[in-house]
């Protein structure tokens, strides 16, 4: 076989192998990969890589086994409690984070399904770019913004502590409250973009036509509408989930999103956020979801992540957030009462 024939043979082989590799994926009538389906995108893979893994993008077999054990035990929950127990401690139970010193709800409310693998590998983090699997450093502008936001943060102590500070308090106006609390978007950038795994309700449904791709996000029942082969709307038009346009790059669906509001679903991001998502149908049962985030006013470089979207037989349930959102009223009423208490105490001195 001469060199030219050898080269031709290699090319033909590649074409044949390539066509076998993609032959099993479902396709629409126009030959494009069919992304339609219902997916459970829950995963216990952390967003950022623990520094213990360094630049290693995937776990070793031993690490993966231990990881599976720890994951299972952390989400197991218990089945009994002391029926003769007392009320929890006065002053709070020390719960961190959103549980805010009063406790939250336990593991039974948290689904234990979802996947951690990408192909046969277990990633050490969702973020893979930069190489250390962690968010890149923030810009000076962003650091100042965060410092100002958190300067007055206090752990929940059951008082109107914000009255000691200058300026508006965090409970002065419902529009100052987080988007999730107002039922505008689900938390943890579940609707994104980028669409990230959350504590629960990680079901997505994709409906695909030639001109439009719709992604329905269970929490809070938000529909992202991706216009295929289109252009972005005018820059002064701003949307909660941005303006998404799509195109095909070979067998990959690329979705480009800009035109965010000042408060995108992605924590810390600004109206300058630009997200590029890539959906690839790996096989009949799963997609690979890949995304790149660029917001030069927040991060010093763009960053990318990736995780699997396995199809599920489960249904996507309705999520009427506003109708049952008693919490927002409770929160605002509670703040008014604590403020009145503080005023009374001050007047009494």
């Amino acid at each position: 076989m001469n060199t030219q024939t050898h080269a031709l043979f290699l090319i033909l082989s590649a074409v044949v192998i390539g066509s076998f590799a993609t032959a099993d994926i479902p396709r629409t009538a126009d030959g494009k990969p069919d992304m339609s389906g219902t997916y459970n995108v829950g995963t216990s893979t952390s967003m950022q890589r623990n520094r213990i893994f360094g630049d290693n993008r995937y776990m070793t077999e031993d690490q993966a086994e231990r990881y599976a054990r720890v994951t299972q035990s952390a989400l197991q929950g218990r089945t009994e409690s002391d029926p003769d127990r007392e009320a929890p401690p006065e002053g709070g139970d020390g719960s961190p984070g959103a549980a805010g010193n009063v406790g939250g709800y336990n593991a039974f409310w948290i689904p234990r399904d979802g996947t951690t693998s990408v192909g046969k590998m277990i990633p050490t983090s969702i973020i893979y770019e930069p190489d250390n699997g962690r968010y890149p450093p923030r810009t000076e502008e962003s650091r100042k913004r965060m410092a100002s936001r958190y300067r007055n943060y206090r752990q929940n102590n059951g008082t109107a502590w914000w009255l000691e500070n200058e300026g508006p308090g965090p409970y002065d106006d419902p529009e100052l409250r987080p988007l999730a609390e107002r039922c505008l978007l689900g938390f943890s950038s579940t609707s994104g973009p980028p669409m990230l795994p959350a504590l629960y309700n990680n079901t997505k449904r994709i409906v695909q036509t030639r001109d439009t791709v719709m992604i329905l996000i269970e929490m809070n029942h938000d529909a992202r509408i991706v216009r295929m082969n289109s252009e972005h709307v005018a820059p002064d038009v701003r949307k909660w989930m941005g303006d998404s346009i799509g195109y095909w790059e070979d067998d990959t669906l690329v979705v480009d999103t800009t035109n965010f509001t000042d408060r995108p679903g992605l924590g810390g991001a600004t109206r300058n956020l630009h997200v590029v998502e890539r959906f690839t149908r790996v096989d009949e049962h799963s997609l690979l979801y890949d995304f790149t985030v660029d917001d030069p006013s927040v991060w010093t470089q763009a960053w990318s992540g990736q995780y699997s979207w396995p199809e599920t037989d489960e249904r996507l349930y309705e999520y009427a957030c506003h109708e049952g959102n008693y919490a927002l009223g409770n929160i605002l009423r509670g703040a008014r009462i604590l403020e009145a208490d503080a005023m009374t105490a001050q007047g009494g001195e």
């Binding site: 952390a74 009994e80 929890p88 009063v102 409310w109 689904p111 269970e218 999520y319 049952g324 509670g334």
Partner: protein, 142 residues
């Protein structure tokens, strides 16, 4: 620098999933200075997002009852586990520990909700779902 134990590192990586984020911070709504224990029968359950609410006829020390509401998590997860609105019927006796809401209405967070004998219907443990908080005397040491 001492390299952290892998298991602890992995567990630490998992914790933010279960404690840092939710529809709203329970700390914004409930008062750590008003702990309470509620015992009584279920009146009804509001099977609604973003959080389910269980209405309980609370037995007071003087023998009277008061109507209280207890906040849980999202009902969607429970539906996926085969638990429906019929699983928690009126008349079932529950024991709840939590904290009263800051607005001092008869609302509390369902920090821990169990049957009268300590077994669980669908909540099952004290604490936030992630770390053990020592509230349950039968906690095994880590």
């Amino acid at each position: 620098m001492k390299v952290p134990n892998l298991t602890i590192a992995l567990l630490a990586a998992l914790l933010p999933i279960s404690s840092a984020q939710a529809h709203h911070a329970f700390g914004a709504e409930f008062d750590p200075n008003r702990p309470l224990l509620i015992k009584g029968e279920v009146i009804k359950v509001e099977w609604v997002n973003p959080h389910a609410w269980i209405h309980i006829s609370r037995e007071m020390e003087d023998g009277t009852t008061e109507s209280w509401m207890v906040e849980g998590g999202t009902p969607n997860t429970l539906l996926r586990r085969g638990i429906t609105r019929d699983s928690l019927k009126p008349g079932i006796y529950l024991v709840v520990d939590g904290y009263q809401s800051k607005d001092r209405s008869n609302r509390a967070n369902g920090r821990n909700i169990t049957y009268a004998d300590g077994t669980t219907l669908f909540l099952g443990s004290s604490g936030t779902g992630a770390p053990r908080d020592g509230a349950d005397p039968r906690d095994r040491p880590r």
